[in-house]
Amino acid sequence: MDILHNLAFGFGHALTLQNLMFCAIGCTVGTLVGLLPGLGPLATISLLLPLTFSIPTSGALIMLAGIYYGAQYGDSVSAITMKIPHASSIVACIDGYQMTLKGKTGLALFTAGVSSFIGGTVAILVLAALAPALGEVALKFGPADYTALMLFGFVCVSFVTTGSLIDGLALCMVGVLLGQIGTDVNSGVQRYTLGLPFLIDGVSLISIALGCFGIAEITKNVDSHEERTPFMGKIHLMPTWPEFKRIIPSALRGSAIGSFLGILPGGGPVIAQFAAYAIDRKVSKYKDEIGHGAIEGVAGQAAADEAAARTSFIPLMSIGIPENAVMALMMGAFIIKGIQPGPNMIAQHPDLFWGLVASMWIGNCFLLFLNVPMVRYLLSIFKIPYVVLFPSILFFCCIGTYSVNNSFEDVFVTATFGFIGYIFLRLALDPAPLMLGFILGPMLEENFRRSLLLSRGSFTVFVTRPIAGTLFALIALLVLWQLAVFLRQVRNGRTQAVPAG
């Protein structure tokens, strides 16, 4: 078996003492930072990204992936115990928090941990089987197809993450424009540098991520003036056998849904959770209990969450196009380490690729055997008041930005993006698509210009090539559908105001 052979090869790389350590550190620190209110996976990863700079490449990638799913798990813990909804764990708030109210916090946390493990394991098998095959398909893509694929990704992400196509699309465009700052690779012209020498190489990824997701979120949280009451209840982790048996079918269903939705453009953990939860409510044996603190309500969504988080690596590593904002940030991190994700990554760096896949499973084990039993200690981070926490987070944002280039000018850039990000948040614009636009912007321009060059200035190339043509047709369909929905709403009277974000 090819897959087994490859996986064994990967485990050989991941199971060195050093890589195991990086994996464990990543998972634990990721969980801890992910627990903090207002810091979702995007902010957590960007905050911890500078830590990986001085680490060898394979260790750094393993640690980053660990941070990502650690943050994901941390999110669901704070959702279950205190109903702190992050963008990535809204569903866990429903049944998970209901279980806490019933005094079954430990059971909910255990269920989430075990289901994540099941979801992760299924997704890794899917990843190992599918990524290399998809990589071969990606080699057939021309520049016009890549252009179409990226635009399709923008449309899907806008649709899924913000719920409003034009809001999300506008933010993608802002991101693309920010990606234009710096030297144009084709002509050598310096664009939008405002004569500032530190902008010649462009705005750093860390500045945008920490500004828009770290500082902006913190400022917004400071405004709300609420102190969280720390969770003080007892945590009894081990379930009884009948309880344990209820986890399995729901978790397996969630894994399948999550693995599938994780691969699609614009897909990812959030939409997978909602889908898994909705399906559990329809088909589960205990569907009447869901919504009132049922095990299935936690198990299905946690498995889907974890599975989608893993399979969303597939488009990134096989085609080279990130499908959501978190993967865009991952791609930025890969590039900083000198690895260009894409069809060539699996061929040129099989040790990195298979090592990463194997380390994902090892990370799952760490989460299950280290973080789940340790959860009660991790939760003590909430005993720190926010007035102490937020200056510390600001400090880490500053140190993180500074240590990229050892330059304080970058701190000014980060502060500027913190301000802009705050405006976006207050205008109820989710800045996540901006990240995707920023990372894909330069690639989009490169592929767009190359397709025009190849077609001698004719736009027909975007319609006549089968892959590009199909994708553009899908984009047109989605746009038309949104327009129709809006027009119908207008005809039925004024549309409902969007709830304040």
Binding site: L51, S54, I166, D167, L169, A170, M173, V174, L177, Q180, N186, S187, V189, R191, Y192, I215, T219, V222, D223, Y386, V387, V388, F390, P391, S392, L394, F395, C398, I399, Y402, S403, N406, F408, E409, V411, F412, T414, A415, G418, F419, I423, R426, L427, A428, L429, E445, F448, R449, L452, L453, R456, G457, S458, V490, R494, T495, Q496, A497, V498, A500
Partner: protein
């Protein structure tokens, strides 16, 4: 200002402003022609698209219920000032001053203010910075 009570309108106007800033900039670069596009072509195209999206939002806001904007000018200014002060002090004096400034100024935005608590936070953060410098080899100009 009446517009300030209409989040959907301001949203559109803000995006139009960004589009105009980048679009105006793009005109200063060589646009080129379709067969060989210049450095200004792509940003001009993207900012035109952003302009259209912003205009659609402005139009759409006429059909939507008004939503108020909550914008805490004081807090965001305090936090920006603490970051800028951190960078300036760290660059021209040293990072120890910068960290102390960051902690004491940023906490002005919090609900309560305590000099003693801030002193402890600053001391702990300094210790962490020192560990980063010695242990992880970060080039922090602490003194």
């Amino acid at each position: 200002m009446a517009a300030m009570n209409n989040r959907n309108l301001v949203k559109g106007l803000f995006l139009i402003a960004i589009a105009l800033a980048f679009g105006g900039g793009a005109l200063r670069y060589n646009i080129g022609h379709l067969e060989r596009v210049g450095p200004g072509f792509f940003p001009l195209m993207v900012s035109s698209l952003l302009f259209v999206l912003g205009a659609v939002m402005v139009l759409r806001s006429r059909f939507m219920e008004r939503a108020p904007i909550y914008f805490n000018v004081k807090n965001v200014l305090i936090i920006m000032a603490s970051l800028v002060g951190f960078a300036l002090l760290s660059e021209h004096v040293n990072m120890t001053c910068g960290i102390v400034f960051l902690v004491f100024v940023s906490t002005l935005a919090g609900t309560t203010y305590s000099v003693r608590r801030n002193a402890i936070v600053a001391a702990v953060l300094l210790a962490i910075a020192f560990i980063f410098q010695k242990g992880l080899g970060l080039q922090l100009p602490l003194y």
